[in-house]
């Protein structure tokens, strides 16, 4: 058995791993205090755009233990604003919990007592992997606007190289929600022999015009911010935080259901004048405004605007049926993995009908597929939340994988 810690030897020189500090405590069922490893790649990566990245770094976390035959690895693909920190508590900050901590851990639906789970920060992101804010070796300056446009397929190729580095020929499962689900789906098409199972949660085979429309509004907000400076704002010592904040606000609305917002905020006033009167102005009047502004501002302090542009574009471009004249069945014809898909009834960003398109295509190909449509109230965000039915489906599916892959 290879322990995750043994992989430390492949870490980047010069980057010191953060050692767990004694004052950070993990909850029971958590993978505990986690640390990030950095993998350097110096073989050029040819990108869909025709450009290439000569060298790049991937920030990675792993949980659990890779078995001797290397058959128990699960790759977790992240969505728009998440990272390689999937589970556990950050060593630096006890308040930083992995984005899918309720899903991944000892005894959790994706059980790290059985599986070796890998979280990887995607290229173009801003949490440790090479992205627009990274220093470009040729210039000694941040990439900024020069960073190439990246696609979902590019991410998969980079992730596949990470798998090669770890000696994993075939994943027990590749899993993701939303944009992460697109990566899982793309894995099943581009590297069909390299995954036994594909788990696609709250995702879609392609964005709708409405989805692209929302992305475009977000991008225009960023690009038209005077502090964007054509994407080279790093040199100016500023960030287009107003644009990024608006982008986040509009994104956030699409993650929640109408009912959810009604219940959370309704028409509650933030700080009404005497006797509940309106304030007759354009400052925050309603609770929902205050909430969205807060979320936007918080986001603009830690997320990179160029990364937001890149990732929304990767979402727009994803469409595996583009090469088969819109025929998704044909696009999925080479798939070898078994599938689990889950959608959520109130998700209007990627509604159940989008997941059903994938299910239909898989059924047409006689590909083994299980599909759960969860009647959860929380819109697109439901895929990140703790719902007992949803988690039971994933738990039972991974028990099935464990049985098949690990010969239990």
């Amino acid at each position: 058995m290879i322990n995750a810690a043994a992989l430390k030897s492949t870490d980047t020189e010069g980057r010191k791993l953060t050692e767990p500090s004694n004052d950070v405590q993990a909850e029971p069922g958590s993978v505990g205090v986690v640390k990030t490893q950095y993998f350097e790649f110096d073989q050029p990566l040819a990108l869909a755009s025709g450009q290439s990245l000569d060298a790049y770094t991937l920030a990675v976390q792993t949980y659990g233990t890779l078995n001797a035959t290397k058959t128990n690895a699960v790759l977790m693909c992240h969505a728009l604003n998440a990272s390689h920190h999937v589970a556990g508590v950050s060593a630096d900050d006890p308040n930083e919990i992995g984005w899918w901590d309720n899903m991944v851990g000892p005894g959790k639906p994706v059980d790290t007592n059985k599986f070796f789970v890998i979280g990887v920060n995607n290229l173009g992101s801003c949490f440790g992997s090479t992205g627009p804010a990274s220093i470009r070796p040729e210039t000694g300056e941040p990439w900024g606007a020069a960073f190439p446009v990246i696609t979902v397929e590019d991410w998969v190729m980079a992730q596949a190289r990470l798998a090669d580095r770890l000696g994993i020929e075939r994943f027990a499962a590749v899993m993701g929600g939303s944009l992460g689900g697109m990566q899982a789906l793309s894995w099943s098409i581009t590297c069909p022999e390299r995954l036994a199972n594909c788990v696609v949660i709250a995702s879609t085979p392609r964005l709708s015009a409405q989805n692209i429309g929302f992305n475009e509004v977000a991008r225009r907000a960023i690009i038209t911010d005077p502090e964007f400076h054509g994407g080279n704002y790093y040199a100016q010592g500023v960030v287009p935080k107003r644009g990024l904040s608006v982008a986040r606000m509009i994104g956030h609305i699409t993650y929640l259901s109408d009912d959810d917002m009604a219940e959370k905020f309704g028409r509650a006033q933030r700080a009404p004048a005497l006797d509940g009167a309106w304030r007759y102005g354009f400052d925050v009047e309603f609770e929902v405004e205050s909430y969205l502004r807060y979320q936007g501002e918080k986001f603009s302090k830690y997320f990179d605007a160029n990364t937001y542009l890149l990732i929304t574009r990767a979402l727009d471009y994803f469409d595996p049926s583009r090469s088969t004249d819109g025929d998704l069945t044909q696009a999925l014809a080479s798939v070898q993995a078994s599938f689990l898909l889950v959608s959520f009834a109130t998700d209007w960003r990627f509604p159940p009908a989008r997941s059903r398109e994938i299910v239909k295509a898989l059924l047409n190909n006689a590909t083994p597929v299980t599909y759960a449509e969860i009647d959860a109230p929380h819109g697109h965000d439901a895929f990140l939340l703790d719902d007992s039915r949803y988690h039971a489906v994933v738990r039972q599916y991974f028990k099935r994988i464990a049985k098949a892959v690990l010969d239990e």
Partner: protein, 211 residues
């Protein structure tokens, strides 16, 4: 339904399904029929089920299941994707009965339906005494039953005629054994295998995959 009839139901459906066939089970419950068919006939099964709890049971059992309301149709399934489409003990609870039966022979080469026979003679006796029948086969009070479309053998056969479904085989059981005479009165459980009127190549069991 009594355990005896569950066993008979499974065994009879098993006899009608070919080795390694693709089988779709509508209203598949906890997946036990598909599990049984997989174990005995090596079938590749897919179930359709609406209940969260039963979907989870299917996944636990290793049965592939699609969570959907049957009454919303089988739009997710393409034409002639399965050898056999099964509607086991579910017909009487379906709202869009005609639509579902037609869809069965669209997505499958043949359909199999099993249902409790409302014409079973003690039911008539119960009605003569002024009461809705409550029996081992239909153990529900009238106000608390999922069974909204109960029928007799003749009723079902008439509907098949109306929908252009050709009945290939019929098997009927009493609580104790298979019945052949006066089945309309004596049977508690009926199973039918049928196909589309226009479907020429399916007189007998198909073996091997459709595709």
């Amino acid at each position: 339904m009594s355990d005896n009839n569950v066993r008979r139901d499974f065994e009879q459906i098993g006899r009608w399904v070919g080795q390694g066939n693709r089988v779709l089970d509508l209203g598949c419950g906890d997946g036990s029929l598909l599990g049984y068919l997989h174990d005995t006939k090596g079938t590749q099964g897919v179930g359709v089920e609406i209940s969260d709890e039963r979907v989870i049971s299917c996944v636990e059992r290793g049965v592939n299941v699609i969570q959907q309301n049957l009454d919303e149709g089988l739009a997710m399934f393409g034409d002639q994707q399965f050898n056999t489409v099964v509607l086991s003990q579910t017909l009487q609870a379906v709202h869009q009965t005609e639509h579902v039966l037609k869809e069965m022979v669209r997505v499958g080469l043949n359909g199999v339906v099993s249902f409790p026979n409302f014409g079973y003679w003690p039911h008539g006796w119960s009605i003569l005494r002024g009461r809705m029948p409550v029996t081992g086969q239909m153990p529900y009070a009238w106000y608390d039953t999922p069974n909204i479309h109960l029928c007799t053998l003749k009723d079902f056969e008439d509907l098949c005629g109306k929908l252009g479904l050709r009945i290939l085989e019929r098997v009927t059981f009493s609580p104790h054994c298979e019945v052949k005479w006066f089945a309309g009165w004596r049977a508690t459980l009926a199973l039918y295998r049928f196909t589309n009127q226009n479907n020429q190549h399916n007189q007998t069991n198909t073996t091997g995959g459709v595709r």
